[in-house]
């Protein structure tokens, strides 16, 4: 069944049809939430909240990209989370340092040393992302991790293309500076100035 049909049936209250959409987008939503809140448990909660909120509001969906719509709800849920729990930023940073939710990398065949190095890079990267302002972090996550097009990000965030480009540029530079400052902590292959 195509996406539009699933949306129409969901709007009629068909929960099974909506769950097919959930199945299709839950990975994206979870990843956006994970990179935004930097905590796996909170990201799970945010993801569930996102789909619940989406199901309740899907009758108001007036076309466009359902993907962008889900991302928009996700970012709203993340924002609500930050707002309702003043400690969430601290928690996320602490979680990064103490529990560790570093992104693992794509290299499949690696030695234990490489794995440890990769974990360290992931930790520093997560910390770097968490250090970005929320608006810049969102654009960096969507463009560079989720690899969405500028137009999709603009639709998901409700911002203009110019704003997206500007935030992305500033976010990248800020993150670059963050990584530069921690150059000694990074494995040689991840150092920016070789």
């Amino acid at each position: 069944m195509d996406e539009q049909a699933l949306i129409s049936r969901s709007q009629s209250g068909d929960i099974e049809a909506f769950n097919e959409l959930v199945e299709q987008y839950q990975r994206l939503v979870y990843n956006v939430a994970l990179r935004m809140v930097s905590n796996a448990d909170i990201a799970e909660d945010v993801t569930q909240d996102t789909f619940l909120a989406a199901y309740k509001a899907i009758s108001k969906f007036r076309g466009g990209s359902i993907k962008a719509w889900f991302i928009r709800i996700t970012t709203n849920c993340c924002h609500d989370r930050f707002r309702s729990d003043k400690r969430s930023r601290t928690i996320s940073l602490d979680a990064l340092l103490l529990e560790g939710n570093p992104p693992s990398f794509k290299d499949e065949s690696e030695s234990p040393e490489d794995y440890a190095a990769r974990q360290e890079v992931g930790r520093i990267l997560s910390e770097g992302l968490a250090s970005l302002p929320e608006d810049q972090r969102l654009v960096v996550v969507l463009c560079d991790i989720q690899e969405l097009k500028y137009e999709e990000v603009a639709e998901a965030t409700g911002c203009s293309l110019g704003t997206i480009k500007s935030r992305l540029s500033r976010g990248r530079m800020r993150l670059r500076d963050f990584l530069r400052e921690r150059r000694e902590l990074l494995p040689p292959e991840y150092r920016l100035d070789k």
């Binding site: 839950q26 990843n31 990267l125 990584l179």
Partner: protein
């Protein structure tokens, strides 16, 4: 100078590096950046580091969803709020405030003693007496603790009656000099009704259509009186009946000699005129009051309100604690 050199050129080029990496620049801008990077080491280094940063970000894999986030029916069913949910008790605060204010008002009334809502014997008697200065029937059946139902005190048209005021038990008779006579009339309702007292003691009971008047302590007419009342003071209402007439203290009946008293339509007086120093009706047995000072069960009301307030405050504290508990504070 080469095109794109200088600080302005660097600023412009660096502002476009991010888009250059994403290959979203138009042809002119792309050429400008490329030319600038070829001749500017600073910007070239900037580009390399930014490129490396983006590469690292691109290497971050997309995590798998740890579980299914499918919606279940029960997730979207309207929740039935538990009775313990604080949201259901939003009315508690205003209710507590109202109860507290009401209690304060009642306590104030009790302390000040105004408008207690209780009509004491004295007050009611006074009301009655004042009413009798008007030439109209006085329906005082609603006065608690007083009077027979539908009993009336009717000024007589006969001349020469002087009604004086002030009595020993606080009762105030009409102050006006009344050109007529007083007829105490009580409806012949039952054996238990139609009781009149006058003065500090006295007088009269009704039995069917007959009644008795006691003047100077003596039963002046009839023998079938059924009730004699001695209204001594407001806290005590003693009751007797015909057989107890003789036990009434002397002097209880005073200054009735010059009146004509009609009870239940029968003339019972032996005198031509009368000065009634005080007179009052006291109701039938069931409406006699033992006025213990509070009159109405004000104390009980206060206690009940206090209990209600206590419960409300308790509930309020409970909901506050629960709200804090739910909020994880």
């Amino acid at each position: 100078m080469l095109r794109g050199m200088g600080k302005a050129g660097c600023r412009k080029a660096q502002g476009m590096l991010s888009e250059y990496i994403d290959e979203t620049l138009n042809e002119n801008d792309r050429v400008f950046v490329e030319q600038h990077l070829n001749i500017c080491n600073v910007c070239s280094n900037e580009y390399e580091s930014l490129r490396a940063t983006v590469d690292i970000l691109h290497r971050i894999p997309v995590a798998k969803a740890p579980r299914s986030f499918a919606i279940r029916e029960k997730d979207v069913e309207p929740k039935r709020a538990s009775i313990f949910e604080p949201e259901r008790w939003g009315w508690l605060r205003p209710a507590t405030a109202v109860a507290a204010i009401a209690l304060v008002v009642v306590l104030s009334i009790d302390i000040v003693g105004i408008g207690s809502g209780v009509v004491s014997v004295d007050d009611a008697t006074e009301q009655l007496a004042m009413s009798t200065t008007q030439e109209e029937d006085v329906d005082v059946s609603g006065v608690r603790g007083m009077l027979l139902p539908e009993a009336t005190m009717i000024p007589s048209p006969l001349p020469g009656v002087v009604v004086e005021e002030e009595m020993n038990d606080g009762f105030k008779a009409p102050e006006a000099t009344f050109d007529g006579e007083w007829i105490f009339e009580a409806p012949p309702i039952s054996n238990d009704t139609g009781i009149i007292t006058a003065g500090g003691g006295m007088v009269g009971g009704a039995n069917d259509t007959s009644a008795q008047v006691f003047v100077d302590g003596n039963l002046t007419s009839g023998t079938n009186a059924t009730a004699i009342w001695d209204y001594d003071e407001k806290d005590q209402v003693e009751r007797g009946n015909a057989t107890e007439v003789d036990t009434l203290p002397e002097g209880n009946v005073t200054d009735i000699g010059n009146t004509t008293v009609m009870i239940a339509g029968s003339e019972k007086s032996a005198a031509d005129s009368v000065s009634i120093d005080d007179a009052s009706y006291i109701g039938e047995e069931t409406s006699l009051i033992s006025d213990d000072g509070g009159g109405w069960p004000l104390r009980q009301i206060e206690i009940a309100m206090g209990v209600v307030l206590f419960v409300l405050v308790g509930a309020l504290v409970f909901t506050r604690l629960r709200r804090r508990s739910l909020a994880g504070i």
